[in-house]
Structure formats: C-alpha cells, structure tokens
Amino acid sequence: MEKKISILVVDDFATMRKVIRNLLKQVGYENIVEAENGEAALSVLKSRKVDLIISDWNMPTMSGYELLKAVRADDELQKTPFLMVTAEALKDNVVQAVKAGVSNYIVKPFTAEVLNDKISQIFKKTAS
C-alpha cells in the first residue's frame, strides 16, 4: 500500500532528482513527480494530490525551508508529510526545520535503504 504513494521530489539539480528517483525505485516507489524549486513544487501541489514531499534544503528562487513553511501554512496541504534533504546536518538547521514542522530529515549522502527507513518512519508516525 505504502509503495503506491505519490512522491514529489524537489531539487534544483536535475541530476540529484534523477539520483533520488533511482534510489526510490530501488526500494519500490514508482509514482514520482519532480519539481526544480519550491515555487515549481507549489504549482505541482496545487494541480495534483501528492502523498509525500521530498525536498532539498538549498535551492534558488524558493528554498526547501521556505517551501516547508508555505506547505504548513496552506489549509489544504498542511498535513502532507515532508522529508527534508540536506547536505548540512548542522544543529541550527535541524532545529529550524523541526520548528517549521518537518516530518523527518535526511542528510546527504544516503543509501536507498536509509531513504526507505526515513519514509517508513514518517508513515508509521502518521498512522499512530
């Protein structure tokens, strides 16, 4: 059931979107859409239902952190699980993301198994 969820992958680097898509496919997730920054992600979210957002932190135009705040402030989108991807496991960033309502975060580099674990943790929390 869980593997049928639709996932929005947001990253300004097309290659990184491909890498995440490749990792997601390795652990059975096939229903994936992409956006190149926070603004483009909001457009996607307004046009179709997404069960999970996986977003990079550092992006031009609208960062992952700004996207997270926009999603949490939107009545229709606010409950969408949000997994933040970051190259920086710096304490201040983690605290900032948790305060803004991130569901989980993952630090680059990561394996397909770690990504799968993070997603499973999110849906376990949602179910409980």
Binding site: V19, A87, P109
Partner: protein, 153 residues
C-alpha cells in the same frame, strides 16, 4: 594550513563516493600545490566562510567522473554531458556538507556558498584566498581525482 583540517575533507570525500556511487577511493599522500592549474578535466569549487575561510575543489579525470555519475544515476554515461556537470556540483556540495559537520565537532561553524563547476583540459581553479592549496590525491579503479583545499586555518 593546519593538517587537522585535512581529515574532514578526506573522510567526507570517501563517504560521499562510497555511499552515492559505490566506489571506494584510495587516498594518497597530500602535497602542496602552488599554481592554479586543475589536476583533472572537470572541477567543482565551493567557497567556505565562518570560523574557517577559504575554498574546496574536487577535480576529476574524465573516465573517473563518468563512472561515478553512471553509478549514481544507475545508467551508463558515455560523454561529458550536463548530468556530469550537475553531479560534480552536487558531489562538491555533499563533500563540503560532511566535512563541515565533522568540523562542527571541532567547535568550528562554517557556511558554504553555491558550488560552481569548471571543465576543460588545464582549466584553472581559483581559490578564494589565492593559494597555495593542499592536494589530497585519490586513485580509483576508474582513474584518479583530487581534493584541492585552501583554508586560512
């Protein structure tokens, strides 16, 4: 440059390539570089500010980076295309992130800029501080690459 700052970049590089590209790089002996000529065919460069200032570059031979990116994407890359350029920027960003996390453990807070990527034979790596820089050479089964670091530490 304080040699204690070499290890975070060495370990960061190994961690990123092992995890994302399933490649086990073999580090060589670090040495001092006094010119700005890149050691590889394509390089990612990122500026660092905060408790330590300077820049980090990763410079890859063509064959090596094509294998790395092929492994990352799960598809064979046969030419130096846009995916390669993107990936070099992202790898540089990730290595910087892992290294900065390790430096945070030494009570040093460091921020990073957006990486830039330069390519071509004998291209230049212009470090923020001008140089000289420390080169950490690596060998892989698919060719060499180097980490090129210049810090005011």
């Amino acid at each position: 440059m304080d040699v204690r700052f070499i290890n975070p970049f060495l370990e960061g590089t190994m961690s990123v390539l092992r995890t994302m590209a399933f490649i086990e790089p073999r580090p060589g002996k670090p040495y001092l570089k006094k010119n700005n000529v890149a050691q590889g065919d394509i390089s990612g460069i990122i500026g660092l500010t905060g408790d330590v200032r300077g820049s980090l570059a990763l410079s890859f031979s063509e064959h090596c980076i094509m294998k790395i990116v092929s492994n990352m994407l799960g598809e064979e890359i046969k030419s130096m295309n846009g995916d390669i350029k993107d990936a070099v920027g992202e790898i540089t960003n990730m290595v910087s992130g892992v290294a900065r996390k390790k430096l945070e453990g030494m009570d040093l807070t460091i921020s990073a800029a957006i990486p830039t990527v330069v390519s071509g034979k004998n291209h230049s790596i212009l470090h923020v501080l001008g140089g000289p820089s420390i080169i950490i050479p690596f060998e892989t089964d698919h060719g060499p690459f180097v980490v090129d670091v210049c810090l005011n530490a």
